[in-house]
Amino acid sequence: MREAIIIEGLTRCFGQTTAIDRLDLRVGRGEVFGLLGPNGAGKTTTVRLLAGVLRASAGRAQVLGLDVATQAREIRSQVGVLTETPNLYESLTARDNLLLYGDLYGVPKDVLPQRVQDVLDEFGLSHRAEDLVGSYSKGMRQRLAITRALLHEPALLFLDEPTVGLDPAAARLVTDTIQELSRKDGRTVFLCTHNLDEAQRLCDRIGVIDQGRLLAVGAPRELARQLWQRVWVEIDLHGEPSAEVDQMVARMPTVLSRRMEGGRLLLEVADEEAIPEVVNAISGTRGRIYGVRAREHSLEEIYFEIQGGGRPTIGGRL
């Protein structure tokens, strides 16, 4: 099966409140998928449903080919979950924390001590392995929590707000770790976050969720294309454009606006197809072009556009 996660019409209600509303989504194996949304949007509930610790009110979902309603225990043995708070036993040492979870996840007894040592080494925690976790910094706790989630070598990792409350250096360390997990080991990562920089850096595709409803799914560039047809293009002419170039550009119907920014000519064009047309036109006037770059919309712009009601037509990968 190509997909690590298949969700169809998944719904979860708490009393009168619908926390997850008819969610449809597919996440491919090896993909880093980011579920973005404000606090209370339904991200954590989605993880809980997919990890089989919460029962859906309606709809169905498969994780690694297993049904969340009937094979929850098998799913839990094959996925790793990093919760929003590290959930570590502060009165135990890091090694004892990992040994406990190794037993709970059924890591073979004969390999468990070495496996614990290996992950401690890999995450740079060996020198503090015998210290009580209560003495750890926030960043170290989060790293240990990731280590715990990886101890049984899961094929799929759910990360719920992995950098929340961390200082920039610790957050950077955690995101580097996540990036490496997907690049080196080919693990599927399902990342829940409201940190847009983190999502931009890590995710192949994103989904935007609000009030339990999935508003949009796709790669950030794909979503931007759906949201905005117009494109900003930067043209480096090593200075101001000549009068000839300026007049020619002003006459082109596909160029909607123009200005200088940071020593570069910035043009707003009707769509991507207009870019080679503009470049050819400038070259035709013997203007020298030193660089051309289509300016991409940031994930922040995309996110707020979607949250503000700009709905891309793209759906999940169905």
């Binding site: 839990r76 959930n87 009165s91 979870y101 929590a145």
Partner: protein, 274 residues
Amino acid sequence: MSWNWRAIWAIVRKDLKSVLKNKMVWLPMVLVPASLSVVLPMVTFILPSLFGPPTAETEDLAPLLEQIPAHLTSQIAGLSDLQQLAVLSSSYLVAPLFLIVPLIVSSVLAADSFAGERERKTLEALLYTPIADLELFVGKLLVGLLPAAGISLASFAVYSLVVNLSGYHIMRRIFFPTAAWWPLVFWVSPAVSVVGLGTTVLISSKVKTFMQAQQASGVLVLPIVFAMIGQVAGLFFMDTGLLLIAGAFVWLLGIWLIWIAARTFSRRELIARI
């Protein structure tokens, strides 16, 4: 369902290790048994002997001795009044108090294991592991039951030693334990642990903190206090027959409470409350 005992024992080990690191939890488990098995018998036997000849006190105790049921008087026939008092106070009057040991130990540990786990925000990660709900429940029950049984037995051994040593100047022989203590220790006491566990687990599911769970489960001491008052007032005496019958009722109550607790212990319910 095949039981994952490795995971169950991992839970037990983890909780017991955590308990040893938490003074709030282990302190009552040390103080209560020490007070009942060491301090109480010493106060009962040694202090009175420091304040004058033993015979001076027995006149005041005559009404109490008169309340003893006929079948018990045969057990203490031939003893002096003071010796009778020694046997009655150490063997019968204190007997209900001894039940506080398994009750306190099991309820403190259950409160820490169930409510404490949620209070420390460590429960969620545990619920994401493959351990089954029932295995997790059994592991947490054992965390309360095993130490309660161990500490009760140890308290009984220490109490026997201290009673015989401190009462030797009155009895001039080893006189404890009496017959009624065997069903008390091996039949009623484990049943009381089970009731303590079942009640505290149910309370823990309704409260947010270890302290709230522990305080609410403190109400369990009341029946023991009433039993002691009942004995002193001469309403009944805890002999072997009464203990066997009472133990059976306590077992039934404990099993019923655990059954209800097990039915309500579901990770899907627990995670919804985190």
